[in-house]
Amino acid sequence: MHDAPTRAAKTLPPAHTREPADRQATQVWLALAVLTAVSVLAAGHALPPVGRLLATLAVAVLCAVKGQLLVRGYLRSRRAGPLIHRLVQLFAALAPVLLTVSALIEAAQALQPG
């Protein structure tokens, strides 16, 4: 086993042309870690009803952004064809959309008089 390029590798682009892909993967990783921390900061304390509504909406948006980052940066489902790509996108949107609905329902319940 050695690091010298194999015969098959000689037909691939040279290493320096793949560096942007590695850099992009690293940026996605960093973004996911930071957004995870931000979502905890947004939601990790007791809030009044309006504050809870805004915090849950923020968590839903962050969830959607993280999902898109992962789908586009790592999963790359577009290459698997339109049907599978749409299914993946549908799943990635499911929790954020339902979280948004939850935020609105819970805010309406909390703001009801009595």
Partner: protein, 239 residues
């Protein structure tokens, strides 16, 4: 010329010039390349033109893996329906229960999942460049980081026991365990797959020309990671 036959040669030079150009040799194929046996050692270069190697594979990993991933998504979509039905019926119970979860544990599991996923992208990159030793190093690191997940899960279980979040603690805890244990089962399959790929990689089972198994594993792990990101927002980032 016989009746009904087609004349193939056009004698008009202007019309001959107007013929469409030949198709490029490296068309992106809509279907995966056929599974063919590797050429024996010492055989000459492949008969395909050199530009064929430059084309990105049309289908990342095996098609069966993508079908499995879609089924996994459908399964978790049903689980999400269970979660939101329960949350909408008892919002106060969910709010109170989520405050008692180990948030740091959730963050650490997220970091373990995302970091091992990133390392798998580096494994694939190294294999595609023919850097086998670097690929092996990244793969070993990915396995080590992913193995933190079960360790963290045990620590989280102990935390939950201390918080009184046992199986009989109400609807929130039941839904929480139902979803997170299911995810843990899926991640465990991915972890076992990583160990298998590590062994195959160390035995020279993947190279720049053939690494679809490795790509399938990475795809599965990223999909499981996507599910976790959703679960994290439902439980640990509860406002």
């Amino acid at each position: 010329m016989a009746a009904g036959s087609i004349r193939l040669v056009n004698s008009n030079p202007e019309l001959r010039m107007a013929r469409p150009p030949a198709l490029p040799l490296a068309l992106p194929l809509p279907l995966p390349l056929p599974l063919t046996a590797k050429p024996p050692e010492g055989a000459g270069p492949p008969a395909s033109p050199p530009t064929a190697g430059l084309a990105e594979p049309a289908w990342p990993g095996h098609r069966a893996m993508w079908v499995g991933i879609c089924l996994e998504f459908i399964e978790f979509a049903v689980f999400f329906a269970v979660y939101f039905s329960a949350r909408w019926s008892q919002p106060a119970v969910f709010q109170e229960g989520a405050q008692r979860l180990w948030t740091l544990g959730g963050v650490l599991i997220t970091l373990a999942m995302v970091t091992s996923g990133w390392m798998l992208t580096r494994v694939l990159s190294a294999v595609q460049q023919g850097r086998q030793r670097a690929a092996l190093r990244w793969m070993a690191l990915a396995v080590l980081v992913a193995a933190l997940y079960p360790v963290l899960k045990v620590a989280e279980w102990q935390w939950n026991q201390a918080q009184g979040l046992g199986a009989g603690s109400g609807l929130f805890v039941v839904v929480y365990w139902y979803l997170t244990i299911n995810h843990f089962v899926h991640a465990s399959w991915g972890l076992l797959g990583m160990v298998w790929c590590l062994l195959r990689l160390s035995a020279g089972g993947y190279d720049a020309a053939d690494h679809r198994g490795l790509e399938s594993l990475a795809t599965y792990w990223h999909a499981t990671d996507l599910v976790w990101l959703m679960l994290f927002s439902l439980f640990y980032a509860y406002a």
